[in-house]
Each structure stands twice: as structure tokens, then as C-alpha cells.
């Protein structure tokens, strides 16, 4: 069973996810960033579901493991679509919504086919392995997409502070999880060490988004070229 530390982190995570939705509602940003908020609401519901299954069946039960990995995969796909809505915001003046949506679906299908091809060669528990692999691959695809979006923000001189912070915090989150999955693949014996660290990583995104919604008005502007590590 998880220890008190895991329960505290779990509770803090749940509260932070709820805080994002509350902050967005209070600042009237819920509809503008609808998918981001729906993702956070689903993440909070998923946490509650995980707790319920944990209490009913126990930590090492198959039910809990299935629920954990399947809900994680669904949430990752949800986050992937939320990232694509950030693309729509950045490219809003170009009226590129249709192309972004099409590209999103094509890339998701491509990632799923690649994952299918990899899993087909190696696994007996096909569906479960596919779900776990898809989730891992989507984290890396999400990371690359966020990096491309950040480059577009710099190139297009996007100045909306809130949007910039939402993108950058998502980039940090994807990088942390992609690095975590890579380390777990390289050193499987370290997996148990990384469990509490990953739980703490998971708090970053809701905290950063709650901050962005609460602290930054939609009208706030900054010069993005000054944020780049190498000044442009």
C-alpha cells in the first residue's frame, strides 16, 4: 500500500487540479482554454477513481494497475489535444484551425501505428503493452510538438504572457515525463526510486497553470525574445 507521503502528494495533486479549474472559472478563462480545463477536471476525476479502485482492490491488484495505465493513456491523449488547442491560439490570426486539427489527428494516428508496430513484435499482453507504450510515445511527441510551438511563438513574436506560460509549463512537464520514461527504460531497476519523484513532477503542471490563470490577466503582455536561452 502507498505510504502517507504518497497520500499527501495525491491529495495535493487533486486539490491543485481542482484549483486550475476554479482559477480559470474565476478569471473567466474557462471557455477560452476549454480543453486545458477539461483535461484538468478529467485528471481530478481520474485521481478520485484511482483512489476508489485502490481502496476496493488494493495497490498490487490487476484492477488498479489496469485502471491506472488505461486512465493515464486516455489523459495523455487528452493532454495531446489540449496542446493542439494551444497551437490554435498561437496560429489564430492565420485561420489555421482546420490544418492544426488535421495535423493533430494524423500525428496521433501515426504515433498509434508506430506503437502498434513496435508492440506487435514483442508482447503477449498486447493491448496493455500497447496502451503503456502509446502513453510513453505520446509524451515524447508532445514534447517535440511543444518545442515546435515555442519556436513558433518566438518566430511570430507572440506576446500573450498567459499563453506563453501555459506553453512553457507544458514543455517542462512533457520533458520531465519523457525523461522519466527514458530513464525507466534504460534502468528498470530504478523504477521504484522514481515513483515518488514522478508524483512530485505531476504537481508541477496544475500548480503552474493555476498560477497562470490566477495571476496573469489575459491582457498581460511580454517580449518573448527576451525569454529565450539564446537571445534573439
Amino acid at each position: 500500500m502507498p505510504g502517507p507521503f504518497a497520500y499527501i502528494i495525491w491529495l495535493v495533486g487533486l486539490l491543485c487540479e481542482a484549483a486550475v479549474v476554479v482559477c480559470a472559472l474565476k478569471r473567466r478563462a474557462f471557455r477560452r482554454y476549454l480543453l486545458l480545463n477539461l483535461y484538468m477536471a478529467s485528471a481530478a476525476l481520474s485521481e478520485l477513481g484511482r483512489y476508489k479502485i485502490l481502496a476496493l482492490y488494493g495497490f498490487s491488484s490487476k484492477q488498479y494497475q489496469y485502471f491506472y495505465y488505461y486512465s493515464d493513456a486516455i489523459l495523455t491523449i487528452f493532454l495531446y489535444f489540449a496542446l493542439c488547442t494551444l497551437y490554435v491560439h498561437v496560429f489564430s490570426e492565420m485561420k489555421a484551425e482546420r490544418y492544426v486539427k488535421m495535423g493533430t489527428l494524423l500525428l496521433l494516428a501515426g504515433t498509434a501505428i508506430f506503437t502498434y508496430a513496435v508492440v506487435l513484435q514483442s508482447s503477449a499482453k498486447f493491448v496493455t503493452h500497447f496502451v503503456v507504450e502509446l502513453s510513453q510515445n505520446l509524451y515524447f511527441v508532445g514534447l517535440v510538438l511543444t518545442y515546435v510551438l515555442w519556436a513558433a511563438i518566438l518566430k511570430l513574436r507572440e506576446t500573450r504572457t498567459r499563453l506563453i506560460q501555459l506553453v512553457l509549463s507544458l514543455g517542462v512537464y512533457f520533458s520531465l515525463f519523457a525523461a522519466d520514461y527514458a530513464i525507466r527504460n534504460l534502468y528498470p531497476q530504478l523504477s521504484s526510486v522514481f515513483v515518488p519523484i514522478v508524483q512530485i513532477f505531476g504537481l508541477f503542471l496544475p500548480l503552474a497553470w493555476a498560477y497562470a490563470f490566477w495571476r496573469l490577466p489575459e491582457e498581460a503582455r511580454l517580449v518573448p525574445s527576451r525569454l529565450a536561452v539564446i537571445p534573439r
Binding site: Y147, T161, Q165, S175, A178, A179, L207, L227
Partner: protein
């Protein structure tokens, strides 16, 4: 091999995103003028220096915090640590990098002072609400 490439890419991207994110937090707060009261408490008159950061953070910890402020100060704390590591290693060899880390550390302190001001205002509001009820 693939996992190693993903790990390296992730770490490089992470550093880029993290530094840019922290600088965006600082940029959003740098225009906020400090009140005379916070200037007195922190000792920051004209420009903040990195040496004051620990003291301002200690003052911050004395005030009740809000969850939505927590990520900002924690991220800036980590960024300040990263700058300290750069200052103690690579920046010793490159004077321009040393000057850049000093400026960034000063801005981290300013961010902490702005957060302190917000927390003081928040505590005052709470106190006023309690008095009213």
C-alpha cells in the same frame, strides 16, 4: 539506444523550457513596483542582488502562502540554484556569463520580493475580512 536519445533530448528541452519559463515568471513581475514598506523590510531600494534572495525567501516563509503562488516561488528557487551552480563553475571562466548570472540572480530576488508583497496584501485582506465578521 532510442531511450538514451530520448533522455538526452528531454534533458536539453527541459533546461530550455525551464529557463524560459522562469524568465517569463520574472518578466511578468519585474514591472511591478515595490511598495515603500516592502522596500524597507527587504532592504531592496534600487536594484536587488542575488545575495538577498535567501533572506527574502525567509521573510516569505513567515507569511501564509497561497497554492497558486507556490509553483512560481519554487520554480524560481530552483532556477536560482541552477544559476548558483553555473556561477560557481562555468561562469568563473567566462566573465560575461558571470555578469549575466548576477543580473538573473538579482531578478530572482526581485520576484521573491514581489511575491512577498502579494502575500502581505493577502494576509491583510484575510485579517480585514475576519474583523468584519
Amino acid at each position: 539506444m532510442m531511450a538514451a536519445i530520448i533522455l538526452v533530448c528531454s534533458i536539453v528541452f527541459l533546461l530550455q523550457f525551464f529557463v524560459s519559463y522562469c524568465r517569463s515568471l520574472i518578466a511578468a513581475s519585474i514591472k511591478h513596483p515595490l511598495s515603500a514598506e516592502v522596500q524597507d523590510v527587504t532592504g531592496i531600494k534600487n536594484s536587488a542582488t542575488g545575495d538577498d534572495f535567501a533572506r527574502v525567501v525567509q521573510l516569505l516563509q513567515l507569511c501564509p502562502d497561497r497554492p497558486e503562488d507556490r509553483s512560481g516561488i519554487q520554480a524560481i528557487g530552483a532556477y536560482f540554484g541552477l544559476l548558483g551552480a553555473v556561477r560557481a563553475s562555468v561562469a568563473r571562466l567566462i566573465p560575461s556569463l558571470r555578469a549575466w548570472t548576477e543580473t538573473e540572480r538579482g531578478q530572482c530576488t526581485y520576484f521573491a520580493a514581489v511575491t512577498l508583497e502579494r502575500r502581505i496584501a493577502f494576509s491583510r485582506d484575510m485579517f480585514a475580512q475576519q474583523l468584519e465578521t
